[in-house]
């Protein structure tokens, strides 16, 4: 049997620095376009950019720490973790596996409601959304390399539709609604910050990718730049959102699906903005599957198997059954998870910082211990030539 522990990092699971940067820039921001804008507007009103900016600053610090830990050595973080903890690495895998399952709930709830808002005129059956779990089962069978490649694809799937939607939305946007700056009470701003913690705690979503790659300083810069490009996209969207809806903003849930509908040309050609929204939904689907994919990967490592199919199927079935139940308690569940931001601060922000404690036992040109790798005697070093991952 192929053992995951004896092969902490199969060579074919390598993710390129560019791909992590793209994931930060074009995959992560999508989660903040759904319920987040109305939540922020509800508490922070015209100052909705402030809590968002605070989140991004906090997450950047976490990300910077992770990147620093990763760049300290050529050995990937996961191998160093394995070297430091030995058999106890399994505990870390299980812990983060469970966390990713927990973190997947809010994106799933968001996706569910967004789908009903953007794709259907009438109330569809639950099973219309249930098909998502077939997709997630398929995606979860793929490794981290697939995440990297999906991030590459998101460059095209995100940038063009996002720009198109923003341009179309600007028609009815009045940025003066954002004024005066800092007009909201500090307490309300902090409430907005607190209640949107689950959606913004996404530096940890880059951790599996970073830990599986040999990140150098150049890559670290790329990733950080990517993260701030994503942040800029979110801040732009939030500004346009509040500029368009103003005082109505708190009631405009999933406004992302309708923000461009006031563009005059649409009256003639129909809702072509929906085409762009559907393209962004593909990115959203990839994003929603991401925590489940990580959980599958970690459980596969825990069970010391490379056969993810059964784990992916089991997790997706679990997700489906959970949703069958949770669909009726949407608001309570949402409030419950968003109401305990401490879990996210602790697990998504603080615990990953322990990576800084990992010894930088750089064993340069040390042959890979992977028995199942096709390049078993090739050192884990980034191949510069023709390496497109």
């Amino acid at each position: 049997m192929k053992t995951a522990l004896s092969t902490p990092l199969p060579r074919n699971e390598r993710v390129h620095g560019r791909q992590i940067a793209f994931a930060a820039a074009f995959l992560l921001p999508i989660s903040k376009f759904l319920e987040v804008p109305s939540l922020l507007a509800q508490y922070a009103a015209g100052d909705l950019l402030v809590p968002a900016l605070l989140h991004f600053l906090l997450q950047s610090l976490v990300l910077a720490a992770l990147l620093y830990a990763a760049t300290r050595s050529e050995t990937p973080l996961i191998e160093r973790l394995h070297n430091a903890l030995g058999k106890w690495t399994i505990a870390v895998y299980i812990f983060f596996g469970i966390y990713f399952l927990y973190a997947a709930v809010i994106p799933l709830l968001d996706l569910d409601k967004f789908v009903y808002a953007a794709f259907f005129d009438t109330e569809p059956t639950f099973f219309s959304f249930g098909l998502f779990f077939l997709l997630s089962a398929f995606i979860c069978t793929k490794g981290l390399k697939a995440v990297g490649r999906s991030a590459d694809l998101c460059l095209f799937l995100f940038v063009i539709p996002f720009l198109a939607l923003i341009v179309m939305s600007l028609w009815e946007t009045d940025f003066s609604h954002l004024l005066p700056l800092f007009g909201t009470k500090f307490g309300d701003t902090m409430s907005a910050f607190t209640y949107t913690t689950p959606q913004f705690s996404d530096a940890v979503l880059l951790l599996p990718l970073i830990s599986c790659s040999s990140v150098d300083k150049k890559d670290a810069k790329k990733i950080m730049t990517g993260y701030w490009i994503g942040a800029l996209c979110v801040l732009t969207f939030l500004a346009v959102f509040f500029g368009t809806y103003s005082s109505l903003a708190p009631r405009e849930h999933y406004a992302f699906a309708k923000i461009a509908q006031y563009f005059p040309a649409l009256a003639v050609v129909g809702r072509i903005d929906l085409i762009f929204i559907y393209l962004l939904t593909v990115v959203l689907l990839f994003y929603t599957c991401l925590p489940l994919q990580y959980a599958t990967d970690l459980f596969a490592r825990t069970l010391k198997t490379n056969r993810r199919t059964w784990i992916a199927a089991a997790l997706s079935l679990l997700g489906f059954l959970f949703f069958l139940f949770a669909n009726h308690f949407y608001n309570s569940l949402y409030a419950f998870i968003a109401g305990i931001p401490l879990i996210f601060w602790l697990i998504a922000d603080l615990i990953p910082l322990l990576c800084l404690l990992l010894p930088a036992n750089d064993k340069k040109n040390k042959p890979s211990s992977s028995p199942n790798s096709s390049n078993a005697n090739v050192p884990f070093k980034r191949k510069k030539e023709n390496d497109y991952a």
Binding site: H16, R18, Q19, F22, V115, F119, F120, D121, T122, P124, S128, F129, L131, F132, L134, L135, F138, I139, K142, K145, A146, G148, R149, S150, D152, L153, L155, F156, A267, V268, V269, G270, R271, L274, Y278, T281, V282, L285, F286, N386, Y388, A389
Partner: protein
Amino acid sequence: MSTRRSLKTLKNNENPSANKNTQITHSVCVNTITENLEKNLTSIKKILPAEDILTYSFETADNTACAIVYADGMVNKQLLGDLIARPLSKLDLRPENQQKTKNEGGRVASNSKKSDKNNSLSLQYLIEKIEKTALFPELKQKTKLQDIVKEILDGNSLLLVDGAPVGFIVGAKFIPVRAVIEPPTDVAIKGPREGFIEDIKTNMALLRKRLKTPDLRFDSVKIGKRSDTLVSVCYLSGTCDETVKEEVKKKLQDIQIDCIPDSSYIATLLAPRKHSIFQNFGTTEKPDILAAKLSEGRIGILVDGSPIVLTAPFLLTENLQSSEDYFVSPFMATIFRLLRFISVLIAVFLPAFYVSAQLFKMQLLPLGLTLTIASSVRELPLSPSLEMFLVLLLLEVLKEASIRMPKYVGMSLSVVGALVLGETAVSAGFLSTPAIIIVAFSGICLYTIPNFVETGSILRWLFLLIAGSVGPFGIVLLAAFFLYYMITSDAFGAPILAPFSPLVTHDLRDTVIKSGIRELSQRPQLMRSKNKTRLRLSYDGEKTSDPKQDQTPEN
């Protein structure tokens, strides 16, 4: 059946521990050519009893019996007559001095060594005499019956001379082939019009004509227990990725099959993704395209009997490319490619979106169009998805019938299909006009990329089915599924969706957007070619590449 039995017997004869029955057969059917012509002919006839294997017997001037064995319809009989039979019939194979030597040798020489020497001298003289008389460019000697049988079946002729323990293989092959014409599947308004044909040798020559370099190599292998089809892997040495070449060659050698009627069999058998609806290999019928692909670092697979050549590694963006794109300005080429890209999206998604707009999301259509459609479908007895399903089915049936139907009936089919079925179905209220327009438009759009027709057609059905049941969300889910499938599908070291995912910015220059020839001075990175440069312009003072990067002197 009998041929197989005889071949089996031959094989057994090679084994010294053959059983008694085999030994009996051995007396009749030998595995090498003997000096006895009658015995040789009997052996060959035993292995090749088919009626189309003919024997032409004649005698030389000194009454030595000769025979030519050939497969009827596969040889140039006139050439055989003029260059082999006629000169040999005038030839005296036993001149006096040789005869004398032989006779003296028989009388005087008591020791066997001298006799053997004389015999070999005589044989050598005989062979030389035949070779000198038959001034044929392709003349080779074979002694093993198994090889000789293969040559005859391959279209070559066998010349046997009584007393000579060798068979002369005469390359007078004349297999009927069709002319080199423009392939119907890959028509170009500008650019070369030659197309491959079914004969592999002609195809090799067509390629060689365009790539006059010693680096062009053909590694051939015969596949098919019964068809013995010649399959040739062609590549530019030093330019192609050795790993891909070796992988293909290894896989080809592992194929055990009865018959290879077409290159599509090879494509299926070599496919790394066996159940994929997407292509694993590129295909082309034009030598200029194949030459260009080989120059990029790909490899080609030519199959005897098939005008379609396979290329690997294959990227999905290749479908957007047409040979004409490289003969017009890059701006025009980009416009054409964008047109093709949009067309294929329309072909796959339009019927699905039309159905889902009617059933789940009316906002997808402009209000005016919604009202028009509403008035058209008001009294229809069928649901939108069933209606679209039927119209699409009608299109597929018409398409299938028009390909198979004789040309003369084709005209009436068009009338029946387009006018009678379409018009009357609308008048009778079975179908609506918008549905027919959408399917017709989708059908036309799909043919902008001929190589994508099969895949596109399957995708269109799948998207229609899911759109009818789940609506636009189903379409997005299925699209996400296929995108994820494609980004994780690698064939021969190249991901199908590259250079978009994984992103290879250098290779984006020849995808949907076509750069000028100067910008394409480097070979695609995805092909992992050692020799990176394909264009170097010294006259305009531009440095197009670092010469140190190139490992081979010729670029």
